[in-house]
């Protein structure tokens, strides 16, 4: 098929959508803003379709052209689609959540003051899409800040809710600190290499650290820069020991924002991590130490996330700790990047795609149930199997996938991660990972047991709107499709044809 639209049109379209929504918010005469979100969902999903007809930028851009900052490869396109789809689903959640939101923001009428809540995710989406394509430290930093500043606002959106404000302040302070680390680390790397473009940094450092190169003897300086960057990205992906903000922020933020944070922020952090690791791991002088740091991070994250998730009673908090655990599995694949680059990259992308589907599904059900049960503790889900079998089934699928039951996306993601770890010979990581999976079965199945075996405290059936029902159904189907027939998404990730990866 002839491809005629340059890829950056997608970002521009998303930005224009955001601006139009701002205008609608300012000038619309209707008090209820929910129509804005419905239009935005339609446009975002249409853009996912359009993304298949885009052309990559010129192969050899002129010096000084903006393409030096912006690359379009298979991974970038996949992440752009992930960002668009995630934002659309987050807006569906926001619609479902708007009655709760209205209670905690200043406003007298239903729907007043919610316009920005639909508008900010769209701008964050544009930031995520820029980040997916960023190959220069400057654009990486700017796009990361766009995303993070949007999240600061969204986390603190429920102004009359003390927990939401507290979460916002915590996130702001720790986020600003981590940004400082990132910039300081990039400064060290720039000081050594003289470039900010990742390819040029890589070339300069590889040549500089080769035997007899001008940089020999400066390994400590480079390692210092790399560690600062890793610390900053550790904050973004919620890896231990930089995870302190996660439980409070996840619990305090409005639930759609929690879902967006756990998917969008994590996906963005990992794509940047993979891009910078490709540079760092290309330098033999520091490769061993970077891998050792990643292994350490992965082990700490897996142990912390899985063990602290076990005693949780609040579902949002449980998902917060489990999201730390999932960062740990992804870090296993990152640690395998140098030994098995193709396999590990594929594992990271596929795991993130699957994680997106199952996390969004679980949060969509969580919002619907929590609104009608007035609470998001596990006990509020007791007897969901009797109150609404459809939602209970959807939640079971999401949780089974998060735990990693065969035939689901989550299982295949973990399988690919462990496969790349075997290829890299990281057997200690596999051991800790399997321990984590075992712990995961315990805390995830606690929720399933509550839904089917506990007696409900409140027997009123739970109703689901048509839009939410459609998306819940679609996501359930997607969990199984990705788990049974992953070829389409894996084919997208690599130029080489992949057939039956799971059955080797």
């Amino acid at each position: 098929m002839q491809q005629i639209i340059p890829a950056i049109t997608l970002e521009i379209a998303v930005l224009v959508l955001g601006l139009l929504m701002l205008f609608a918010e300012a000038f619309s005469t209707r008090a209820d803003r929910s129509h804005m979100a419905r239009y935005a969902i339609a446009v975002l999903l249409a853009l996912v379709g359009f993304s298949f007809f885009t052309t990559p930028p010129p192969a050899n851009p002129a010096a000084g052209s903006m393409w030096n900052f912006y690359a379009v490869d298979a991974t970038a396109m996949l992440f752009k689609r992930i960002a668009l789809a995630t934002t659309a689903i987050v807006l569906v959640m926001a619609l479902e959540y708007r009655s709760v939101l209205a209670k905690f923001i200043p406003g007298t009428e239903e729907g007043r003051g919610t316009g920005e809540f639909y508008c900010l995710p769209v701008f964050i989406c544009a930031g995520l899409m820029f980040m997916a394509s960023a190959v220069d430290f400057i654009l990486i930093f700017v796009a990361l800040e766009l995303v993070t500043i949007g999240f600061y606002v969204l986390v603190a959106y429920m102004r009359k809710h003390e927990q939401s404000l507290e979460a916002g302040v915590k996130y702001l302070i720790l986020g600003a600190l981590s940004t400082g680390f990132l910039v300081y680390g990039v400064t060290w790397i720039f000081g050594l290499s003289g470039h900010t473009h990742l390819d040029k940094v890589k070339a300069a450092l590889v040549a500089g650290f080769a035997a007899g190169g001008p940089l020999v003897g400066n390994e400590h300086a480079l390692l210092f820069g790399i560690m600062l960057v890793l610390v900053a990205l550790g904050f973004k992906i919620a890896a231990a020991p930089f995870q302190l903000w996660v439980p409070d922020v996840y619990q305090g933020a409005p639930t759609p924002v929690t879902a967006f944070l756990s998917v969008g922020s994590k996906a963005a952090g990992f794509i940047v991590l993979v891009r910078v690791l490709e540079v760092f791991l290309a330098i033999p002088a520091v490769r061993g130490k970077v891998v050792a740091a990643l292994v350490l991070l992965a082990i700490l994250t897996l142990l912390y996330g899985n063990l602290t998730a076990m005693p949780q009673d609040n579902l949002k908090r449980l998902f917060a700790y489990s999201s730390i655990a999932h960062a740990g599995y992804l870090l296993i694949a990152c640690a395998a990047l140098s030994a098995d680059p193709a396999g590990a990259k594929e594992a990271i992308s596929f795991y993130l795609a699957g994680y997106l589907v199952m996390t969004l599904l679980s949060f969509l059900v969580l919002i619907t149930v929590a609104r009608q049960s007035r609470g998001d503790d596990i006990r509020h889900f007791a007897g969901l199997g009797k109150r609404n079998p459809f939602l209970a089934f959807a939640m079971t699928v999401a949780i089974a996938s998060l735990a990693g039951i065969p035939l689901t996306a989550g299982f295949l993601g973990k399988f690919l991660v462990f496969k790349s770890a075997v290829a890299a010979g990281q057997y200690a990581l596999i051991g800790v990972g399997i321990l984590g999976v075992g712990a995961g079965f315990y805390y995830y199945f606690k929720v399933i047991a509550a839904m089917y075996w506990d007696e409900p405290t409140d027997r009123t059936p739970i109703t689901v709107g048509p839009l939410t029902r459609l998306f819940v159904g679609g996501l359930v189907a997607l969990v199984f499709v990705l788990g049974i027939w992953p070829a389409p998404i894996l084919n997208q990730l690599s130029e080489r044809p992949i057939t039956a990866v799971a059955h080797k």
């Binding site: 912006y70 007298t108 701008f123 003897g217």
Partner: protein, 170 residues
């Protein structure tokens, strides 16, 4: 730049930076920040970055600090002066900061490149150093894309401020 001037301004900048955090009175903190910004501007001058230095004074020491002071006056922050500090948190924070400083000293000590002075900038004959022009050219030609994304970033920050601070709608 004369090393004596460099160390003088660096020490002043860091000292007043510590004063920003240590002062109990928010107005005193803000004024320390102004001095710190001025010392940073002096360091920029020492690096021949005159445009950056003037921007530092006009934007940071001028506009941003006036806003800070306005907000401090409007909010009338008394609680900060009465606040008790958590000794454990301060101890832990100091420990992390010290560990970081020790690392930094270690890295700088083992950093052979740090011993050499910067090479002299070679300008084409007949051209003087015009950093305003260079900053403009870099910003608006080479770095257009990040520059435009910053525009979006500032828009989002503005929306955020309005959302978080707007009054009860009537």
């Amino acid at each position: 730049m004369n090393p004596i001037l460099f160390y003088l301004f660096s020490i002043l900048m860091l000292g007043f930076g510590i004063a920003v955090v240590a002062n109990r009175n928010p107005v005193a903190s803000a004024m320390s920040l102004v001095v710190s910004f001025f010392c940073l501007a002096a360091l920029y001058v020492g690096l021949d970055a005159y445009f950056l230095a003037s921007i530092q004074v006009v934007v940071y020491a001028g506009a941003v600090m006036v806003l800070f002071l306005f907000i401090i006056m409007l909010l009338d922050l008394k609680a900060e002066q009465r606040r008790k500090f958590n000794k454990l948190a301060i101890g832990g924070g100091a420990l992390v900061a010290l560990a970081f400083a020790a690392q930094l000293v270690g890295v700088l000590g083992s950093h052979p490149r740090g011993d050499k002075p910067f090479p002299e900038l070679k300008l084409p004959v007949g051209e003087s150093l015009n950093d305003l022009q260079h900053v403009g050219e870099t910003l608006f030609s080479l770095h257009t894309l990040p520059f435009q994304v910053i525009g979006v970033l500032i828009l989002v920050a503005t929306i955020g401020v309005i959302v978080i601070s707007k009054r009860e709608l009537k």
